[in-house]
């Protein structure tokens, strides 16, 4: 499984790390938070899907991403439940997601109508009443870089620079 993600600024990653340990009793705390626009189940052996995505995004300019509230998926479609996440609001992410779904199809359960842009911070059971007012990071940013993320190896494969498109 690989995905096209929005690169999360370091200030937000640090702020997430600060609140994650105090999230209390969760089984898995995510070490490298990611913000997924579109997942791909089929392997892209010759890089053609990546090339096609780059064509699609060739004219897309940087867009705004806003941090929302701390929320919970009681039952996750994949992996351990429940999932503690930070809700994200972004018209840009939604529009790119819809376009990519219309071109490449949708991963069942988590995409299309079910797509909720979010940053997962912890999984498994844990303290549910968490005070999110401690979040010290910026509440919005301009997404200038998207990255192709290898979900199995947990590392970035490649990136798309949107600020070149201005």
């Amino acid at each position: 499984m690989w995905s096209l993600n929005v690169s999360i600024p370091q200030g937000i990653v640090r702020a997430i790390e600060e609140i994650a340990p105090v999230s209390g009793g969760w089984e898995e705390i995510v070490e490298e938070p990611t913000l997924v626009i579109k997942r791909f189940e089929k392997e892209d052996l010759d890089g053609h899907i990546e090339s096609e995505i780059k064509f699609l995004l060739e004219n897309v300019e940087p867009f705004t991403v806003e941090i929302g509230n701390l929320e919970m998926f009681e039952v996750a479609d994949r992996g351990t439940s429940p999932v503690l996440y930070i809700e994200v609001k972004s018209i840009g992410m939604k529009l790119i997601h819809e376009t990519l779904v219309s071109v490449f199809g949708c991963v069942k359960g988590v995409e299309g109508e079910n797509y909720i842009p979010h940053i997962t911070i912890a999984r498994g059971s844990g303290v549910k009443n968490i005070d999110f007012s401690d979040f010290s990071g910026p509440t919005w940013w301009t997404a200038k870089t998207l990255e192709f993320w290898d979900g199995d190896k947990r590392k970035k494969k490649n990136q798309v620079m949107l600020d070149k498109n201005k």
């Binding site: 064509f55 004219n59 897309v60």
Partner: protein, 178 residues
Amino acid sequence: MGLDKESNECGNINKNLEKGRKKRISYMSTVVGGMIAGIVGASAITLLIVSVMDKRVGNKSILPASIFVSKYIGTGEADEYLNQGILLSIIYGSLMGGIVATILPIISMTIVNVLVWGVLVGLIVGIIGDKIGMEIVLGMKMDWVWEGKLVIQSRIKFMVVNIIYGIIVTGILIYEIV
């Protein structure tokens, strides 16, 4: 974020994604473009083999595709299947052109790029043709002699026509003629 700014951003992204969609469609169409380029390239080298290179040797041209027709489809000798061989060569060249179009990276329109990529593509197509097409499928071995040999007998002539094919196909693709 204000409503005006949000709707502005939404309009811009939608418009730019639409541009991207069109670009993607044109990228997909390069497969068809590659097949057309392959037809042009294959026609050119077939004409070169039949009318120039083989004619200078024995006035009787035998294409690898004619040997294929003779061996696997027909009952006569390969030289009786020149027209069928020409047709099959062009179909093969068209399919190879389609494959080249999907593999060829997006590169700038320069003669140097056409020559470098053309020679590389021609050599790869030639080596595949030699090792798989000639040796395995047709059971024929070529040598390196140029003089007095038909294209199907001389590896160096065979490679030269494949390089010409590569240059024509990559030239058409790089300059986006189709």
